[in-house]
Amino acid sequence: MSQIHVQTTINGDETEFLCDAEETLLDALRDKLGLTGAKEGCGTGDCGACSVTVDGRLVCSCLVLGAEAQGREITTIEGMANGDELHPLQQKFLDHAALQCGICTPGFLVAAKALLDHTPDPTETEVRYWLAGNLCRCTGYDKIIRAVMDTAAEMRGA
């Protein structure tokens, strides 16, 4: 069985890769394209460490086939900073010590950005429910939630 040729846009760059039909977008990103920022914590959509957006929608890339990326716009953690300028969420995660081991951090940042793009003024409860699909075992979430709330406030100019 020959591989599938996929043409897609990743972080604004036109990209192509070959993948097996069974191969996930996560595997394609990590193994074919060297974009290892998305992590596989579970492979079943239960941890959110592989979060990316596809055409602006937040998804677990472990539950997307690589072949489905054809013609789509994908963004990953690698596309979050603008060159050497961090996205405010990235800076706030550092300021608030919102990471310990850091394995879940890319997924949280991608998911939190999707939230703030969608809801610039979330309540704490909204942040907690939006991020419920991102597991963190180190922090107890406290500092992550604070970092997201603080970013939202700053981005609103509050």
Binding site: M80, A97, A132
Partner: protein, 750 residues
């Protein structure tokens, strides 16, 4: 040892909250974790795992797998035949079964292939002929005389009379002092109860991963996520029969460990596959493998009895603890016995523990291993006893808290510590006075962990521009590099940003014990302080040389060498950068180092307070408010200290309410995934309030105590006390999942 405190010398860097050195890489996706490594020519390794809880391996036929195109190596226990030291034997057999599988998920064989798909296909082609044996997964069942026997060469140790028949009970331990019978005779009120806890998993988000590259001549390299790469090196070298000097292990960034990455599982497999295939091999566990074959903690069956006089003085404390450690001998019950009563002072204490073997994965350390379940039982009884005596549970704890000079439950006399301060702080905390609504309850509990020092080696190198590189051999699991940099900046008097810390590979430093026992900030930190003092002496010597005055006439103050007194001569202070810039002409590179077996680790106590609400119709427990108060000795980077408090508390909340290993009748794990092994999610929780107490550890120059583990000790008891108060029934089993709580409520009504 303690020579710098907030009182005698203001800390300039220690106690601040700067950005961590590895932070930028971690928020941009650049940080390289275990599975992120690629080596040229790399193969994919996969492990075949047992579907049976207990079975004899009659034969393994690997021929079809070997014949599959793209398969480069297949290994079984036959590839691990050398004489392995006893200390590593169980570890090896846990990685790959020798003759018998002992639990669902036990490794049986492994393949290396050119792709994941081929490796998976090859696993299916390996034919294992099993003779299924009766199994046992329950700790009490395993203790029975007619229980299926895991090993025929284990005889219970620690009995007065050596047994003649093998047993699943590998050992009996006893700790304590005084005479509990006498103590109970003196008591006016006694409470005794039985408790059960289920096994939980450390639940780190990063599955185990490694890339091994081992040549036929026994020279190799290994990249892996671990809490201790020196441990990995030594264990793998022993199992593979190679010189430890020939194996260079590099620790990747680690995606959580919590004790679960203090041993090896796939690393010798990857190396053995690599040696056979002649190419590097990457092995990454699936989440299913992580749950079935790594971790977990012990499940426990416990009995606790405590007596007190009517004035509230505890007279005797006694406990019987049975912990299963999985399919191999464990030491966890000893730690449970030693810590159970550590928060209290009583003339008569006794704990007896049994280490029990069952057909489950070999228990690994999990944050204060052995202590949380014992604390759940003890702290539940302490609160119940206080209530029976009509004394506020917090006051009762204050009255009986262990103090400096008291005989501890585990042997030595207590040194100064902050237990009383944590209790006093709880009492004064706003949380303590928040009014409670219907179906709500408040619980408090205390917790203790020893903390550890251990073998440590660090080095410090000063660059020509006056910046400082420090190398540690202790893996950074939660931001410890920031703490290392802070302590060195403090000691040398240079800005934090001028100090960079790396976790060096095993060929670059002397042996370092694993990042466990909350030892890293304490032991590597102290080694670095001493390395910096070593370097400072050399810096002073260089300044002396430049000034042409005796070395003793130079002192180091605020990042500068300066003449020690008016008689030393008139010289302008010389900065570290200035001295470093002249190093070439004054004797070459300037460095400091320190190697030792660190002593003086300070214990850490905590008091937790929690409010819960219980749905009276479904038994569902919601955590409303949570406060952690813990003694850190000295918080080097307070934000990461708070993070340790919060993270441990939330792991404890998970353990208390929903996390558990569920085994079916067939002995197979029913919930090997994050869907049904339910760790807390963000929406389950409130903010976790923290208060850092700083009662300095006299065994560390800055007073630092380990902080990482104590935080998981009190939560289950605190929540049990809270839930029991909310529903009016004492909960004695973990997890306090909705079906269990509802049943307890219904049983009480009936």
């Amino acid at each position: 040892m303690l020579d710098k405190t907030a009182d005698n010398g203001e800390f300039k860097y220690v106690g601040t909250r700067p950005q961590r050195p590895d932070g930028l890489d971690k928020v941009t996706g650049r940080a390289r974790f275990g599975a992120d490594m690629v080596m040229p020519g790399m193969l994919v390794g996969k492990v075949l795992r047992s579907p049976h809880a207990h079975a004899k391996i009659k034969s393994i036929d690997t021929s079809a797998a070997e014949a599959l195109k793209g398969v480069k190596a297949v290994i079984t226990a036959d590839d691990f035949t050398i004489d392995v030291p006893e200390a590593e034997y169980d570890t090896m057999v846990n990685c790959i079964a020798h003759g018998k599988v002992l639990y669902d998920g036990h490794g049986v064989a492994a393949v290396a292939a050119t792709s994941q798909a081929i490796a998976n296909k090859a696993l299916k082609l390996i034919k294992v002929d099993y003779e299924v044996l009766p199994h046992v997964t329950d700790v009490e069942e395993a203790c029975k005389d007619d229980a299926p026997l895991l090993h025929d060469n284990i005889f219970t140790e620690g009995l007065d009379e050596a047994p003649t028949t093998p047993s699943n009970i590998s050992g009996r331990v006893q700790f304590g002092h005084g005479d509990v019978e006498k103590g109970f005779a003196d008591a006016d009120t006694i409470v005794e109860r039985k408790f059960r806890t289920e096994a939980t998993h450390q639940g780190y988000i990063e599955p185990h991963a490694c890339v091994g590259n081992l040549s036929a001549d026994g020279t190799g390299e290994l990249w892996c996520c671990t809490q201790g790469h020196f441990m990995v090196r030594n264990s793998c070298a022993a199992i593979l029969g190679i010189d430890i000097s020939r194996l260079r292990v590099t620790a990747s960034e680690i995606g959580g460990g919590f004790g679960g990455k203090t041993t090896i599982f796939i690393e010798p497999i990857a190396l053995a596959l690599s040696r056979k295939a002649g190419r590097p091999v990457k092995v990454v566990m699936t989440r299913d493998e992580v749950f079935r074959a790594t971790g977990p903690t012990s499940s426990a069956s416990m009995w606790i009895k405590i007596g007190a006089k009517s004035d509230g003085t505890i007279t005797a404390m006694e406990g019987l603890l049975k912990y299963q450690g999985g399919a191999f001998k464990g030491t966890w019950v000893s730690l449970g016995c030693m810590t159970a009563f550590a928060c209290y002072r009583a003339d008569h204490m006794k704990t007896v523990g049994y280490d029990v073997l069952v057909n489950r994965p070999r228990a690994a350390a999990y944050r204060a291993p052995g202590a949380p379940m014992a604390a759940f039982a003890v702290e539940s009884v302490v609160t119940e006893l206080a209530e029976k005596l009509g004394i506020d549970p917090l006051e009762f704890r204050l009255q009986n808290a262990a103090k400096e000079g008291d005989q501890s439950s585990y042997g030595p006399k207590h040194r100064a510590h902050g237990l009383i301060e944590t209790l006093e702080t709880a009492k004064a905390h706003a949380h303590y006075d928040v009014p409670l609504g219907p179906n709500q309850g408040r619980g408090i509990a205390c917790g203790f962990w020893f903390n550890f020092g251990g073998e440590t080696s660090t080095s410090l190198n000063i660059g020509a521009d006056g910046t400082v590189n420090i190398s540690v051999g202790t893996v950074d699991v939660g931001g410890s590099r920031a703490s290392m940099c802070l302590m060195v900046a403090e000691e040398l008097g240079v800005p934090y940003e001028k100090v960079r810390c790396v976790v060096a590979d095993t060929s670059s430093l002397g042996h370092n014990d694993t990042t466990d026992g909350s030892r890293t900030t304490f032991a590597s930190g102290m080694a670095l302080i001493l390395s910096a003092r070593d370097a400072k002496q050399k810096l002073c010597a260089r300044a002396a040389k430049i000034w042409e005055i005796p070395e003793e006439a130079v002192e180091w103050v605020d990042g500068h060498a300066r003449p020690a007194g008016p008689n030393a001569g008139e010289f302008d202070p010389m900065s570290l950068a200035e001295i470093a810039g002249k190093a070439e002409t004054t004797g070459g590179p300037i460095a400091g180092h320190h190697e030792y077996n660190a002593r003086g680790a300070g214990v850490s106590f905590a008091t937790h307070m929690v409010d819960t609400e219980v749905d009276p119709d479904t038994g569902r427990v919601t955590v409303l408010r949570y406060t952690v108060i813990q003694d850190a000795g000295k918080a080097v980077h307070p934000a990461y200290v708070e993070g340790q408090f919060q993270g441990g508390a939330v792991q404890g909340i998970g353990w208390a309410i929903n996390e558990e290993y569920i085994y079916g009748e067939d002995g197979r794990l029913q919930n090997p995934g994050f869907l049904d092994y339910r760790i807390p999610v963000a929406s389950d929780l409130p903010m976790i309030d923290t208060v850092i107490i700083e009662n300095p550890n006299k065994g560390h120059p800055y007073g630092v105590r380990g902080v990482g583990e104590t935080s998981i000790v009190p939560p289950m008891a605190a929540i049990a006390n809270s839930v029991s108060a909310a529903v009016g029934v004492r909960l004695t089993e973990l997890p306090m999942s909705p079906p269990r709580v509802l049943k307890a409520m219904d049983d009480a009504k009936a």
